[in-house]
Amino acid sequence: MAAIELDGVTKRYGDVRALHDVDLTVGEGEIFGFLGPNGAGKSTTIDILLDFVRPAAGDVTVLGHDAQAESRAVRRRTGVLPDGFSVYDRLSGRKHLRLAIDSKGTDEDIDDLLSRVGIADAADRPAGDYSKGMAQRLVLAMALVGDPDLLILDEPSTGLDPNGARRMRELIRAERDRGATVFFSSHILEQVEAVCDRVGILRGGELVAVDTIEGLREAVGGGDRLTVTVDRVTDGAVAAIERLAGVSGVTVDGTRLAVDCDDGAKTAVISTLEAEGLTVEDFATTESSLEELFATYTTGAEAEVET
């Protein structure tokens, strides 16, 4: 059974189109990354999953329950780090967890939960004194209450330092290994790349791609790019490189050659150039990053949508 199913979901705020005909299925036990620039509709989608916001059209099912009519049943089995939340300034971290535990009717140790997110020391301080990162961790601890079947995390790494972001990824994997489905949104790609089984890319309220990271790479024709600076360029040398196995393209810019190729073909490219009598002065490889992929999808999609 799917953990999350969206079918033809559309939402408008006045004249602004927030979501348009979004279809999406997230399987059980999956870590799903929901990507998109700010304002793409990620938070609106999450708000609809939790019945904070009602769609104009479409069906939404979460953990087998209708997201609107049976929202409470959904939220009983879901842990949430919502978008645009704030903590209760006057209540301590401990009181926040007490609220979550009482609300879910579980019997967990508050100090254990706070230790898991690394803020056990601040348990009795008012949450209003917490930094943004600490507040984020506190709400994450609340989300973990009751070992939920589904974790919905909106921009979970916001306000976390690199170490905190790493802990967040470890925690997401641990929750998945426990059997939970994790659905999280981000506009920071490396976090998604590091942890997700599949990603969906949202742009201007439309889902423009859903695939694995590798699948996305292939789809945009990404690979490694080898940049070689030589003393001079000959047509023969370019032709020789183009004939090599694993080379998908060569572009010449003055005395610089940009070679799109597989990882294994790099050595052959260099030795072929030298065999053609050219002097290799410098070379560098760049892996086509998700950053570029992301730009390809979002800006490319923009051009498509608007023309």
Binding site: Y13, D47, L50, D51, F52, V53, R54, Q68, A69, E70, S71, R72, A73, R75, R76, T78, V80, P82, D83, G84, F85, S86, V87, Y88, R90, L91, K95, H96, L99, A100, D102, S103, K104, G105, P126, V139, M142, A143
Partner: protein
């Protein structure tokens, strides 16, 4: 749009009813705010002054050989209480829901398995608990001052305290319901001022309604009797303040200023009785809460 409001805890397997969890959170949050302390201090000051005043009157009465009655205290504290208590109750309630919406804490609360109805009922209960705490402290202080040198009939006094809490509750209901119905804090402030002007202030805008009708009908502003005809009393009774005055006059033994003013001519019709007054107070909780829920449940947060 949403799960059945107030689903029975037994059916859902919750250890504690959802609204109770919300109420507890809300109370704990509110008692850490300055509001409760300011409100309690205000009220203690009021009851303290009244009790001190009564203490002095009690001495004067004792010199003439009469005793201070519990009813005296009730009617004396009621005069400032009927406008101060709405102020306190509206202050405690008007921001309750809208602040959570504006700040985003509502998303924490509704990420947990509570329905929007649970949240509203929990808010109402939490804020009534806050007001009850403030009033109880105030009345306890007053009782202590009076009891130091005089007697106080316990049962009528407790009845009075309960009725006063119900009176405060009707304004909390109004304020919480309004807070749930609006989107911004500014509108909540406007609502609080409006509620207070319409029902809390003395005389309130509502008090003028029967007079206005009378003027339209007869060209005379005031009625021949202090309370006017039954239709005027019925309109008047719809305000929480009149309902409160009617209820205290009816339920607390001793002199009833209300009945005397009406001429003491036998029993009043049931719809003007102290029981009707209780129904009115309850309606001022139920109706605004229902309207607030109707708006709140349909809202995008």
């Amino acid at each position: 749009m949403s799960d059945a409001p107030g689903a029975a805890p037994a059916a859902t397997g919750d250890p504690a009813p959802s609204a109770l969890v919300v109420a507890r959170k809300d109370f704990e949050d509110a008692v850490r705010s300055k509001t409760l302390w300011v409100v309690t201090a205000l009220f203690v000051l009021l009851t303290g002054v009244v009790a001190y005043f009564l203490d002095a009157i009690g001495d004067a009465l004792a010199a003439e050989g009469t005793e201070l009655t519990a009813t005296d205290f009730v009617f004396v504290v009621q005069i400032p209480g009927q406008w101060l208590i709405p102020l306190v109750a509206v202050l405690v309630g008007y921001k309750s829901v809208v602040t959570e919406r504006e700040s985003g804490t509502i998303k924490l609360l509704l990420s947990l398995p509570h329905t929007r109805w649970n949240v509203l009922v929990g808010k109402l209960a939490g804020r009534i608990a806050v007001v009850t705490t403030a009033l109880s402290v105030g009345f306890a202080v007053a009782a202590a001052i009076v009891l130091a040198r005089h007697t106080l009939a316990v049962v009528p006094y407790l009845v009075f305290v309960v009725l006063t809490i119900a009176y405060a509750g009707s304004f909390v209901g109004l304020a919480v319901g309004f807070s749930a119905a609006v989107r911004s804090g500014t509108r909540a402030v406007a609502g609080a001022v409006g509620i207070y002007a319409l029902f809390g202030f003395n005389p309130s805008l509502w008090d003028l309604v029967p007079l206005g009708i009378n003027y339209a009908l007869t060209g005379e502003f005031f009625f021949e009797t202090p309370r006017g005809p039954e239709w005027a009393q019925a309109i008047s009774l719809l305000s929480p303040k009149s309902a409160y005055n009617t209820a205290t006059a009816g339920f607390i033994p001793g002199e009833s200023a209300f009945r005397q003013a009406a001429g003491g001519t036998g029993d009043l019709p049931i719809y003007l009785s102290e029981w009707a007054a209780l129904v009115v107070l309850a309606l001022w909780v139920v109706v605004p809460m229902a309207v607030g829920y109707w708006r709140f449940q349909a809202a995008d947060l």
